[in-house]
Assembly symmetry: D2
Homo-oligomer: 349 residues x 4
């Protein structure tokens, strides 16, 4: 514990929480001093997660701001929507720094949050304070702040794939269509018919068509980048696999640009950011090629027949789409190298 940063994880028994534990165990500057769960406080975390046997032998703590402050300097909130809105202000008041993995601080507009999340929004002052941690786009804004809102999984894959082209004006933002696919772990550990093995295996399905709460988050960023209002068509699908997100994106090209032009543009935009890998022409990334890692891989296909660009962007939803990017944000917040503790090679096959 000598000189390391002490961190606590609220929501340790969810998939986002255990992924934080997995990744932070390898972080050279961090010590996880408290794993917290309101529902299972007092029991060993390894009881519900036997893969942690002998790795974490401590008991789960309850949620109490002062007690957390006694153990930690930074708190990750890996909680369901609606919890962090109330909890984060209490933790900030204790002098803790907060990185929220839930959706509670992503939308600047409280009414938009209410409309899409069907829950009470956080207070506007905190929404204003929270910095949106899309690391490769807004990473500089994160340094030194107290409250970071970690982007959603779909928005991360989607925005990293779109931002440079929208910013440069090479695609028409009004024509953007996003066909997104996710593994099942994105739905969390809660048991339901929608996560039942026999219903998911050997099955592929669409869900929440045009209704997903990540739509306003994507549009908020695209609007900021484009400098004018952007609305998008966004469809989500469930893939019979555990981890991985692919966003396949379509837009009409403005001007004359080849595959290689887009590759060059993106490589310039992401220069020095190790976790975005822009693939060579003719190569589209597959989700397995980033499995277990913090990479976002991006490929392009310009179609001269239709004048449209197809962008393929993949991430591991639990890493770059949640716990990994949250740690990347911690690193940026602390002024450390953004890759600290995150240099995992994807597990293949």
């Amino acid at each position: 514990m000598s000189g390391k940063l002490n961190v606590a994880i609220v929501g340790s028994t969810g998939y986002g929480g255990v992924e934080l534990i997995r990744l932070l165990t390898a972080h050279p500057q961090v010590e996880v001093t408290s794993v917290i769960s309101s529902s299972s406080a007092g029991t060993p975390i390894a009881e519900g997660y036997p893969h942690l046997t002998e790795i974490r032998t401590d008991l789960l703590d309850g949620i109490e701001a002062a007690a957390i402050r006694a153990k930690a300097d930074v708190v990750f909130l890996a909680t369901p929507a609606g919890i962090a809105a109330k909890l984060a202000p209490e933790l900030l008041a204790e002098g803790l720094k907060v990185i929220d993995i839930s959706g509670d601080f992503r939308l600047k507009s409280p009414s938009l949050y209410e409309e899409w999340y069907k829950k009470s929004p956080a207070e506007e002052a905190y929404l204003a304070q929270a910095v949106y941690g899309l690391a490769e786009v807004f990473g500089e804004e994160v340094r030194g702040v107290d409250l970071i809102s970690n982007p959603g999984c779909y928005p991360t894959a989607t925005l990293l794939g779109l931002v440079p082209a929208v910013k440069e004006g090479w695609i028409d933002p009004a024509t953007i269509i996003i066909d997104a696919k996710s593994g099942v772990s994105g739905a969390g550990r809660g048991a339901s018919l929608g996560t039942h093995y026999s219903e998911i295996n050997e099955n592929f399905k669409a869900y929440k068509v045009n209704k997903h709460q990540h739509i306003p988050e994507i549009e908020q960023v695209l609007t900021r980048v484009a400098g004018k209002p952007v609305v998008t068509t966004f469809t989500t699908h469930l893939v019979p696999m555990t981890r991985g997100i692919m966003s396949t994106m379509y837009a009409t090209i403005q001007g004359e640009h080849t595959d290689q032009d887009f590759i060059d543009l993106y490589r310039r935009y992401y220069e020095g950011r190790k976790f975005v890998r822009v693939r060579q022409a003719g190569q589209w990334p597959a989700t397995k090629e980033v499995w277990g890692s913090n990479y976002c891989d991006i490929g392009f296909a310009v179609d001269s027949r239709t004048g449209r660009l197809t962008i393929v962007s993949v991430i591991d939803n639990l890493v770059k789409g949640a716990a990994g990017q949250a740690i990347q944000n911690l690193n940026l917040m602390m002024g450390w190298d953004e890759g600290l503790g995150l240099n995992f090679v994807p597990a293949y096959p």
Copy 2:
């Protein structure tokens, strides 16, 4: 064999071939009198497919037109691209009727075939003779003909989902974007890195972006239906599952139409055709809901924010996308009820 129609299957050792065997075994008017494979002639078909043990105990025959004629009246060709172009004319010359499941007779233009298939096309006279058996759209044209070209798997799911709206002018054909996903059986039984379990499992990937040979087939039909040239953006993805195709399709709506308007339009268009099931508002079909059956299920989502329509269409690629529709075409060709031998309930779960 009394009074039944005798049929032969060329390419019996491929997935399309064994699916024909599975389905035709239950057909009340058909007897499969010859299962044919050039590579394995003389061996029992159950040797390579033990699930057929005691179901088919006969040996595989070789490919010889006169010998086939001696055993059968109708031949299904379930062969790789490039075979049927030469074989079908020989079989027709023997007086056999031919239903080709490959792509060799789908494109009316020989040069287009050559461009997309990278193989020598069939003779133009046969391309002109072949009737394209998209059963619910062109089914009446099939009756009594000698040469049927069975549609591709992606085109079947895609076109059944698009044709009524394009025909009615409710969507702008110039805006159509097709994001298609398929199970691995569509790639056939050949062993390759692209079908290797460890590479596919827990993986999702795009392939042949803008390059798939089913693109000109889709455009040929849409052009005919729209009455003007249509080009489309079409992306194919591989899903870690064995069977099933979903086409998620996007287009700009022309005029004012609700979900229910589209549902009503499609139900009218497909009236009396049992294998297309138009789902109720708010319900999008999943591939498992048609698994093992000849159904094509279709759902809609009108998005007033963007003015776009999202169409979700699913089939079992080996049934409605291959063997099942081929049998449906046989039924139509013979003047029988189109559902004869095809009334399988989807296997769920």
Copy 3:
């Protein structure tokens, strides 16, 4: 409905229930006149199971014996353990014939039921009356009876693989070890952590080691066949797949016997019974080779080094292990051909 047998299905919204619907829809002598569910009565069955859209448009009925009698002559009970024990006597009293797919009437001893199922047993008179429908072993006893107890999924695969050798005295019953594996559908449709996709996918696990309630059922039959008490070691494992059971069984060989000797013995024993397929020497069946069908396939390996026999037996747990064998029992009960409506070719791949 003219001349067909009217049947009702209690528990229609479970996997066993919908599989009965799938199979009985193809049965030439049966009409399913009532689908019953206590929890969902009054709603369309296709609401929870969209794959039945336009196939079954009727509403689910409630459970009321007299109302069932008004619609049906035979009732299938596809209910959780503990329901049939009370319901079957009521239905019998109404003059209905009952085929119970649950475990409630399998064990002749009420105390054994209580010990392994942790529930109140059925009345002893009904336990005595119920005929255990392991079709290929006790099929003759089923004809004309009123109450059939359909065997469990594991016991079906296991016993069909063991009975001939035990009966003949070729293996020592005291040495039998059964290592069984099942797909997830065997756990039913209830949502739980144990059926959660992300917990099952890319995972293999043992459960209920030495504690599974199918153990006394297996031993009851082996004891009867061996003519002396038999206890067995029985382990169950969960395979990341939906359907299929394999029992791999080990026993010490008594006397000198080759693979072919066992094959011949089993082929004689199962002569005329189409649903047991004894494989040729050196071939061990895989679960996919019986997927969706009523087959039980069996293979052998004699090991001269150890003097032990390995038996591999596979079934589709929802067909031969539940709904399919129940229909086979219906056929036998009615004096029909046992394969009526069950001649499905396994769906491969």
Copy 4:
């Protein structure tokens, strides 16, 4: 490179090879200075494995002993059976240390190798020289040697589960039956019908019953530990998943012992060895609970009804069953902490 150990990997384009790359990239004392492949020399390794994009940008080297010596001090051989037998002596002659992951140096008897591997054995002197690196059993013998033979995947899971009980005489070695299950990655990256996705998915099958080449390896160790000849019954099954092995093992108990007795015995035996985790009573490990890590987890079930013990042992076949244990052996050979670079938390879910 300052002060790090330089290692080369022969067979870098196989699954064992890329897993070595994944793990060694995180090793603090090692630098992988040469990745070698006879078939793909001269091309970038990331071409065939895009997950390594920007992680390894070097070209594959060819196999030439002197050239390897110029770059490395230690060589891992991750080659198919039959290669290392000839290659290792050449490398040793150059002064390199060799850790062989293949089966070529596991069996002390050349004739046994020939019988089970159907290939020419290594020279007897080298077979005698090679130290069998089952780390937690024979780890002390590895220190400082030049040639280590890394155990097979099945033997690792199996022997770690059996050795303490056999050594202590608590189970009768003559009664051992091993029912083993493996994910598909164990079969390597070669494309074949046996690794074809559509053949494996939703399927479970037995293979090489009583014929697997890991049988003599298991028996060689058990014979040494028991102090008398041991033969075993060993069956292998293929699970529809990529990684993971479970050995379910059965044996007759000698003496009176409870679950807890076995747990205590194993915990004593493996004291101080972090990669073996003996589970608490009533808990059997699942393969996913060690996924991606070097752990071997073991659970027990004593059955008083039959007097038999059931042991469940799981590993990740590519880590503890191959690359991970090889690195553990490197650490032991070098006199380092055995866990160096291997402290990965299992990836869950």
